[in-house]
Amino acid sequence: MLLALFFSLSSAQAVEPDEMLTDPALEARARAVTRELRCVVCQNQSVDDSDAPLARDIRILVRERIEHGDSDAAARAFVVARYGNYVLLRPPLEGDTLVLWFGPALFLAGGLALAWFYIARLNRSGAAPAALSAAEENAVRRRLDEDTGTR
């Protein structure tokens, strides 16, 4: 019952009625764009989620751009031109973010490769030792008996 309640909660939003555009299609686009922009004040929230006054300003700005005829990409670019790529919640795929995107996968692959070679090396050098001769076997048994103090 509690679980059902938990999953039925919709995601937070900070958009107020006086910000919303009258055209529902444009409003939906504006929401989508602001959900991808980082609030520069509360930096782990999107502009759509954040209650910060600056987030509200940026929400209104994005709506203005979209009403102006800007595409989603152009509206995003408008904000990025002022605040930089950090304001995009999904970092773009550019020269300096390639490490960010592919680094973890590369490290994992590299680590697995290293592990593979290491284990392969272990298996190769771990050849079974030659069997003991009868004299050596008796010596071992005598030594073992001494240690355990039995027999």
Binding site: D57, R82, G84
Partner: protein, 179 residues
């Protein structure tokens, strides 16, 4: 013997990563670096706070090195910075333009009367649009603008004696020597 050498490779990799991360962790992730460095001051045309009819534009910040200080009467840290700004103006070190960010005229007037007015002129950005054009994320923030009206540095946070002496004063001197 090569296997012994090879077994130290992960250690060196870890060390290299550790150094790389140490640099990263030493940065303050909340500080967003300005993307406007070396670019011209964004165009603005705003009313002068407290002077009916007068306007101030980005063109006014050309011709000499100046500071554009984003502040507001609701900003608590701005109070801490104010004595330093008054001192700079009093000693005629550099021209300081103010950008009143989302402030009300009566609050602004009261605040300046209480604390003093170090500004050459104050642009009234009541709507906050110019602040967004400047990439402002909070107050106080100060832009160092050169003679050609380009932003050369952005100070995020309070300008105190140390920040002035170590960071901004040398830059201002350098920019004043430029054409």
């Amino acid at each position: 013997m090569t296997s012994r050498w090879l077994s130290t490779v992960p250690l060196f990799l870890l060390l290299a990563l550790a150094i790389y991360f140490a640099f990263g962790l030493a940065q303050d992730p909340r500080t967003i670096h300005s993307v406007l460095i070396d670019k011209p001051l964004p165009a603005f045309d705003l009313p002068v706070a407290g002077a009916a009819g007068a306007r101030v534009t980005n063109e006014d910040l050309k011709g000499r090195v100046s500071l554009l200080n984003v502040f507001a009467s609701w900003c608590v840290s701005c109070r801490a910075e104010h004595p330093t700004l008054l001192k700079l103006t009093g000693e005629k070190r550099v021209a300081i333009y103010g950008l009143a960010w989302k402030d009300k005229p009566e609050d602004l007037k009261a605040w300046l009367e209480e604390l003093g007015d170090p500004y050459t002129r104050i642009a009234d950005d009541a709507a906050g649009r110019t602040a967004i054009d400047l990439g402002v994320t909070g107050a106080p923030e100060t832009f160092v603008v050169d003679k050609r009206g380009r932003i050369r540095f952005k100070q995020v946070g309070v300008i105190d004696e140390v920040v002035w002496a170590e960071t901004i004063a040398p830059l201002v001197a350098k920019l004043e020597a430029e054409k």
